[in-house]
């Protein structure tokens, strides 16, 4: 099986989808000749030409708005937003248009667009190249939100996202774009949306994580062993609709919950995950759930490693969850 990093795996998924279906088109800034600032679309311009791999004017609302129109016509646009931090000019098109089209047209105009965007910190990006904005999109009815952590999942989930009938925000953890490497099958395959994966089984505490923070959670879980704590680490993979069954199965066994995400704490996805668990498994809980997250500040530059919920902050949370 070929070895791929996440960039190569996503590139491969795009190529497979475009070969299989000529309605699939890519729009974005610098996605064409240069193949994207992270090289995710490298080689696609040469293979599919400039009517299917389109360098657009510098306007995110223009990109998403026209992609919505293309989708209404019957194409399958896969949009790249260069950094998730620059998605906000398109927020109106995403929230008020893309997400609502199926509903407001009584199903006559399902608008299906995939929006890919690199997310997250730890790359010396300061607050305009580090945001991890899943929560404001999860909050919007009609959007699906995905965030893979491995090359294998990135390819399989992107192929699912492109085939899915609904709009999907596909957030790519750029800190591990090259580090997340592994065996990835050469041809087409899918990883189903709405399925989480138990990536490390354990008895004492459930850890929910995704994207780049999955590796931090795994690191903390392996260090917790020395303290007699066996943490079960779940990679959510699809953030919304979340795989509630896998989460509840785990929490009912461990009775303890730690949620990790890079985004700020308040109204972050962790708040929703904790609520879901408390509502459904309250009597199984033996300790208060703990959120290990970014702080409620803009993402800082010089102190970024102190901002992020890395292993050194997750480990004490695991021990505390089990102690209390």
């Amino acid at each position: 099986m070929p070895q791929m990093n996440m960039v190569q795996a996503i590139n491969d998924a795009l190529r497979i989808a475009m070969r299989a279906d000529d309605r699939v088109v890519i729009l974005g800034e610098d996605v064409g000749r240069v193949g994207g600032v992270f090289r995710v679309t490298a080689g696609l311009f040469d293979e599919f030409g400039d009517e299917r791999v389109i360098d657009t004017p510098l306007s995110e609302n223009g990109i998403v708005g026209t992609a919505v129109g293309m989708a209404l016509y019957g194409l399958v646009p896969v949009v790249e937003i260069q950094f998730a931090d620059f998605i906000w000019p398109a927020y109106d098109q995403i929230v008020n248009e893309l997400a609502k089209y199926r509903y407001r047209s009584g199903g006559e105009y399902p608008a299906k667009v995939v929006i890919r965007a690199p997310v997250g910190g730890g790359i010396r990006g300061g607050h305009y190249h580090s945001q991890h904005p899943e929560a404001p999109f999860i909050h919007v009815a009609g959007l699906k939100v995905v965030c893979p952590s491995s090359a294998y999942d990135a390819k399989g989930l992107l192929l699912s996202a492109i085939a899915d009938p609904d709009p999907v925000l596909f957030f790519e953890p750029k800190r591990v774009y090259r580090a997340a490497k592994g065996e990835v099958p050469a041809g087409a395959f899918t990883v189903p949306l709405e399925s989480a994966a138990v990536v490390r089984p354990g008895r004492h505490v459930t850890v929910l994580a995704y994207g780049a923070m999955l590796y931090e959670a795994l690191d903390a879980a392996s260090k917790a062993v020395a303290h007699g704590v066996e943490a079960e680490v779940i990679d959510l993979r699809t953030l919304w609709p979340v795989d509630i069954t896998t989460i509840l199965d785990s929490v009912r066994r461990t009775g303890r919950l730690v949620v990790v995400h890079e985004a700020p704490r308040t109204c972050g996805f962790g708040a929703e995950l904790v609520s879901l668990v408390v509502e459904r498994a309250f009597y199984h809980l033996e300790a208060p759930p703990i959120r290990v997250t970014g702080f409620d500040t803009p993402f800082p530059y010089s102190l970024e490693m102190e901002y992020m919920p890395l292993s050194h902050r997750i480990l004490p949370a695991l021990l505390e969850a089990v102690r209390s």
Partner: protein, 365 residues
């Protein structure tokens, strides 16, 4: 090459100035501008080297655009405000932003005016009428209009100049900014650095208009084109726009035709999308070389003066770097300051959690 008609030029090939648009700069003023252009270029080189050595994280330079950047700022008055893009540190320094403070920003130290919160080159200096730099393209354009409009409402004599690139003309803020400035007759100068590229995307992907300046017509404001590699033409054009604004004649869109001679930033490799041959026609129109030739012909400058200047700048730069490298990173508490004027309970709680918790392995690891 963009179309050549209607482009304001002053410095002629024979190194004389076209009297029609000659801004009438004194020798001392030309020397002042020249020194700052040389300084800008030298600092660009040194900062790129620091980035390559891993000592700073990033730099976005101005190679080839020095005359456009410095000439525009020079034409504005002290009481005017400049809303920068991210490529104009040379103009901030010329307006009085201290080199040492700029270098603290490049290293994100505790002495950085924005306390290491932003990437390098994203500094702020209100004291010299300079805005705060944002990465999102175009956002400063509407803000520059609002600032000057506010001053107009309060009957204050303040104009604004806003820098942005050709790529930014595709943003909604560009259109909204021009439209508001037109409707409310706001004294804002929209200074578009048409440098040919938005990272790898050429200007032909930003507009089907022949020129950027002609977009002004749709908003009822004046649009002019200027040779952005001609320092004298830039000063003259911006001055005229400023005078119009002050007289209540409203905003001007200036398209400064120049060229981005380097990569977009230290993160970019331009060889992936353009051959070096595209640089040739621009190399012979180097904005600094043209002014140097003008000064030398008038016996105001020579090789020895150049060497002295470079040695001076180098010394100041090396000292600033040494100081910044000795300066600690901002204190942990600073992360929670300036989110609000006073931190609410939840930030105080989170601050305590950070201070009492374990330390991260190392910054940017």
């Amino acid at each position: 090459m963009p179309p050549d008609d209607g482009v304001v030029r002053v410095l002629r090939d024979d190194l004389t100035l076209d009297p029609e648009n000659d801004p009438g700069l004194s020798d001392a003023e030309v020397l002042h501008l020249y020194r700052h252009m040389v300084m800008t270029r030298l600092l660009d080189e040194r900062l790129v080297a620091l980035q390559r050595q891993g000592r700073i994280g990033f730099h976005v330079g101005s190679l080839g655009e020095e005359a456009a950047i410095l000439g525009a700022a020079f034409a504005m008055r002290k009481n005017d405000f400049i809303f920068p893009c991210y490529r104009e540190f040379g103009a901030a320094l010329m307006r009085g932003f201290e080199l040492g403070v700029f270098i603290h920003n490049m290293f994100g130290t505790a002495k950085d005016t924005v306390r290491g919160r932003q990437m390098p080159d994203h500094y702020t200096c209100r004291r010299v009428g300079w805005g705060s730099i944002s990465s999102p393209v175009g956002t400063q354009i509407t803000q520059a209009v609002g600032f000057a409009w506010g001053a107009k409402i309060r009957k204050q004599d303040v104009a604004t100049l806003v820098y942005f690139g050709d790529g930014a003309t595709s943003s909604s803020d560009f259109h909204s900014g021009m439209n508001f400035a037109g409707v409310f007759r706001v004294p804002t100068i929209f200074f578009c650095r048409n440098n040919g590229w938005a990272i790898s995307v050429p200007v032909t992907r930003q507009t089907a208009s022949r020129t950027f300046a002609e977009k002004a017509a749709a908003y009822g404001i004046l649009g002019v084109r200027v040779d952005g590699n001609d320092l004298f033409a830039v000063v003259s054009t911006v001055r005229k726009a400023l005078e119009r604004g002050i007289r209540g004649q409203g905003a001007t869109l200036i398209e400064a035709i120049t060229y981005r001679m380097g990569g977009h930033s230290t993160s970019d490799d331009p060889n992936r999308y353009r051959g070096s041959e595209v640089l040739e026609p621009w190399a012979s129109r180097d904005p600094i070389g043209r002014v140097r030739a003008y000064l030398e012909k008038r016996e105001l400058w020579d090789g020895a003066a150049e060497e002295r200047l470079i040695a001076e700048i180098d010394k100041e730069f090396r000292e600033a770097v040494a100081v910044a490298e000795r300066t600690p990173l901002p204190p942990l508490e600073s992360m929670f300051e300036d989110v609000y004027e006073r931190p609410p309970w939840h930030l105080l709680e989170q601050r305590a959690q950070l201070l009492n918790g374990p330390r991260a392995p190392s910054p940017h690891s």
